[in-house]
């Protein structure tokens, strides 16, 4: 089963559309439907449905079967798949992305460890030399000092 957060779910059709009855009162977002087991032979492997009249996709809950062979299933709307086109048209600020990002933006979720590392970066060195410098007054009259 594809992740519920996946917009393009990988769906495998398990049968042709079948009629169902809805429990009264019927919720658009969480309808409860009743179908006959024989109409959906692979009922125990189904987890997703589309109700044409409602124009929506639904996640299926655990089916409950009665002695007459009827299956009662609670459905919950898959809001994103049911509004896929509108979602793709949304223009908004993307906070995080798997494919488009800038790693220079501070990431508060980055798993920074408590440990730190030290890197030594050599730049250069002053020469290991020395000399004595004496400065005295006088001695400059008529002299080239260089």
């Amino acid at each position: 089963m594809s992740d519920k957060r996946k917009l393009n779910k990988a769906l495998t059709r398990v049968g042709n559309p079948i009629p169902c009855s809805v429990k009264d009162p019927c919720s658009l977002l969480r309808p409860v439907i009743t179908i006959t087991k024989n109409a959906l032979p692979s009922w125990n492997r189904v987890n997703y449905a589309y109700i044409d009249d409602f124009d929506r996709y639904y996640f299926m809950g655990t089916p409950q079967m009665d002695t007459a062979g009827r299956l009662t299933v609670e459905l919950e709307v898959d809001a994103i798949s049911s509004n896929k086109a509108a979602i793709l048209g949304v223009k908004c600020v993307i906070a995080r992305s798997e494919t488009l990002y800038n790693k220079m933006i501070v990431d508060e979720k980055a798993p920074v460890r408590a440990t730190r590392a030290i890197r030594y970066v050599p730049i250069g060195a002053l020469p290991q030399t020395e000399c004595f410098i004496l400065t005295a007054d006088g001695g400059r009259i008529g002299e080239d000092n260089t």
């Binding site: 957060r5 949304v90 995080r96 992305s97 933006i105 030594y120 004595f132 005295a136």
Partner: protein
């Protein structure tokens, strides 16, 4: 078509004369394709297959052409589209340029090849037909420039058909202004292969324009040619293909790709329809539709910024559905700037083409998923009046075989070439080469979504790395560099009775004439040697005169950071510099990371001070003062004075909390040294003289699925249709246009803000 579809194919058919009985004859067709689609795709031993029609057999024949001309124009043609023939071309030598033309009725189904090679050279031509074909002989005289054309009997000719050289005729044709050798092969079914060898004489080695004979050959043929980078190119059909980048022809075939030199696989394919020897991965790649929709943003008319965005639905579908592990990172966007002149500035009636010598060398590539940000004015075109900017999508590990068409936009340029000003918007928009279904849309005065949001401002360095020269020359004092033994000699002289008597005439003691005596940890450049003069008394001791403040270049380092992300900056990473005689100083990681730090020292030899000057990317960034000279005590009172001065200086710095003063630096940073007493340069002499930086960096542990499950920060405005993979939106989503219940909108918003897989 085979089950593998169609695509431009360059299968490796082994050499050697063999007849291949065919049960599984592929279809071939020629169609207008991308410009230069064949250029640069051959290796020695490769073959090109061109084929028309369907036949029942496949036969191969090889011809070897020897020539002593350096350049030769080969024309291999099929006589008509119904002839069930193919041509195999197996160049022995490197062939510089190939063009295939099919839109001229005079040159229907021809493969045109230009060669440029050191003389002499030879190359093989393979002829492949579905009928056994024969050489029909030759007549006329061969040109002196074509030494011979020999044919190798495959030994597979079919009984009942004439053998090579038995039937038919060969004509010799001399083209206007040049020469040519014209050879025709007929088979008994009147299918005909024409092999024509045209050769030219060139007066110059390079940069000749239009060979006259080429012009005479056809009205639409050879309007212009150019030599660039030592490669000879011929341009066809100038009316539409006025550039070497104009379309030539693609050969499209259902013939699969075989392993190199896998003759057995080829045979089994043709004979039995056996696909086992087919390189299926290559076939899948060959099915990728590289047609790309390009959007060019031109922001500004003068020196505009140019941005390119692209989307190739075929590539992205392939990435989404392929089982071969390809991702967007395996595809690149190549772009290049071939600069040309379409009109001679000195004679507008002459139309010439002139390319920069590095035309093919300036092809650049970037990741498919990245926005291309071009700074076009950085190019310095040669005599530009018109230029093209070209781009295409390629498979990174085989860009010569899997690619979209080179698309381009023409750009009119006026003004100085070095400035490359753009005349006006209407000079843009000459979109060229969309032969594979690619599209180019030009949008003026806009930039792509958020293009500037990831752009860091550029440094503007002052390039002032040369400190100002400063002289110590003074009319009142003199500075000497003194050797140790001379200093001892001077000490003895100071207490010489004669000296004391003389000096007492003007001072109370000889010491009063010495301004300072320092031991400096550098070898100072000095001038002439002369006797040391104190006041007006000349001594026996000598010293070298010193005048300038010396500048010592310590070194530089380019620091790239460690993580390549925000963790390389404060507050996560701390950078600490150790500057000899100055101590440890903190330095802003943002100022250094990704840049070059250069350190110089200025030395005050009179006071024994030093100043470490820090340059970042050639800009003067900061300085740190230090104390490097050791006072040589002259008398007891002088010694006490020196110590007192140090103590007072240290106390003042500590009380003021001076952050970057020489002592303050040592105290306040407290990183690798601490001090309770006052600072003395004598102790600093015991420290290392190496200048280094310590990067105190955080460690991070990204899980392998971090991008897929958590994602990295993006903070760009995008339409969700343009995003892929795990995506999280900020809370501020405009959900206008949704036709669903408010509860559903809340559900959608909740998923968008916590993460959705697109």
């Amino acid at each position: 078509m085979s089950e593998y579809g169609s695509k431009v194919l360059y299968p490796h058919i082994p050499t050697g004369g063999v007849a291949l009985p065919v049960n599984n004859m592929p279809s071939f067709k020629l169609q207008a394709g991308e410009k230069n689609s064949l250029a640069g795709q051959y290796k020695a031993g490769d073959v090109i297959i061109s084929y028309t029609g369907i036949g029942s057999g496949l036969y191969a024949q090889k011809a070897t052409i020897n020539t002593n001309t350096r350049r030769m124009h080969q024309r291999l043609s099929l006589s008509d589209s119904d002839s069930a023939m193919a041509l195999l071309l197996v160049p022995k030598n490197w062939i510089s340029k190939r063009n295939v033309q099919n839109n001229d009725s005079n040159f229907q189904n021809q493969l045109l090849v230009d060669t440029y090679e050191k003389e002499p050279f030879s190359w093989d031509v393979w002829l492949l037909t579905n009928k056994p074909f024969i050489r029909v002989g030759q007549s006329g005289s061969e040109s002196k420039n074509v030494q011979n054309i020999s044919y190798e009997d495959t030994g597979k000719s079919v009984t009942g058909y004439p053998q090579i050289g038995q039937v038919g005729s060969t004509s010799v044709s001399f083209w206007s202004g040049g020469g040519g050798w014209y050879y025709t092969i007929n088979n008994t079914l009147q299918n005909k292969v024409t092999l024509a060898v045209d050769y030219y004489f060139y007066a110059r080695e390079a940069r000749e324009t239009i060979p006259e004979q080429m012009t005479a050959l056809s009205e639409e043929y050879a309007d212009a040619s150019a030599v660039f980078g030592g490669i000879y190119a011929t341009i066809f059909n100038s009316a539409e293909w006025d550039s070497v980048f104009r379309p030539s022809l693609q050969i499209i075939s259902s013939l699969p790709i075989f392993g190199y030199n896998d003759l057995d696989a080829v045979y089994r394919y043709f004979k039995f329809g056996d696909n086992d020897g087919i390189n299926k991965d290559d076939m899948k790649l060959s099915e990728v539709d590289f047609a790309t929709d390009w959007t060019i943003y031109v922001n500004g008319a003068r020196r505009p910024n140019i941005y390119i965005t692209m989307e190739s639905q075929g590539v992205e579908d392939f990435i989404a559905n392929n089982q071969m592990g390809y991702s967007k990172e395996d595809f690149l966007v190549q772009y290049r700037y071939p600069i040309k002149v379409v009109q001679d500035v000195n004679n507008p009636s002459i139309k010439t083409v002139d390319y920069g010598a590095d035309q093919y060398n300036n092809t650049r590539a970037t990741s498919y998923s990245e926005l291309i940000d071009l700074n076009y004015p950085s190019i310095t075109p040669r005599n530009p009046e018109y230029a093209e900017l070209q781009f295409r999508v390629v498979l990174a590990d085989n860009p010569d075989l899997y690619y979209s068409a080179w698309c381009g936009i023409g750009i009119g340029i006026i003004g100085s070439p070095s400035i490359a000003e753009f005349a006006s918007q209407q000079n843009w928009g000459n979109v060229v080469s969309l032969d594979d279904g690619s599209t180019v849309t030009i949008i003026y005065d806009q930039v792509p979504d958020d293009v500037d949001e990831y752009e860091d401002p550029e440094d503007v360095p002052d390039d002032d790395t040369d400190p100002t020269d400063f002289s110590l020359a003074s009319a009142l004092t003199t500075t000497y560099k003194v050797e140790f033994n001379q200093l001892q000699l001077l000490g003895n002289e100071l207490w010489n009775k004669t000296f004391i008597d003389d000096i007492h005439l003007i001072n109370n003691s000889p010491i009063e004439n010495i301004v300072s005596c320092k031991r400096i940890p550098f070898n100072i450049p000095s001038g002439v040697s002369r006797s040391i003069v104190l006041g007006n008394i000349t001594n026996a001791a000598n010293g070298n005169l010193v005048s300038n403040v010396p500048i010592i270049d310590v070194g530089s380092v380019t620091y790239h950071g460690y993580h390549g992300n925000f963790l390389d900056y404060a507050p996560y990473t701390r950078l600490i510099l150790f500057l000899p005689f100055c101590g440890f100083v903190n330095i802003d990681a943002a100022a250094v990371t990704g840049k070059t730090l250069d350190i110089k020292y200025a030395i005050d030899i009179i006071l024994g001070k030093c100043k470490a000057m820090l340059y970042i990317n050639n800009s003067y960034y900061m300085s740190v003062d230090g104390d490097c000279g050791i006072d040589i005590p002259l008398v007891a009172s002088n010694r006490a004075q020196t110590e007192s001065a140090f103590a007072i200086q240290g106390l003042e710095s500590a009380l003021q909390g001076e952050p970057l003063g020489v002592l303050g630096a040592a105290v306040s940073t407290q990183y690798h040294s601490s001090r309770n007493g006052s600072y003395t340069p004598t102790c600093a002499w015991q420290e290392t003289r190496k200048c280094f930086m310590i990067a105190d960096i955080p460690t991070v542990q990204y899980p392998s699925s971090y991008a897929h499950d958590i994602g990295y920060p993006c903070m760009l405005t995008r339409t969700l249709a343009t995003m892929s993979g795990f995506t999280v939106c900020t809370d501020d989503i405009d959900m206008s246009g949704f036709s669903c219940t408010s509860e559903e909108m809340d559900m959608i918003k909740q998923i968008l803000t916590t993460g959705i897989y697109l």
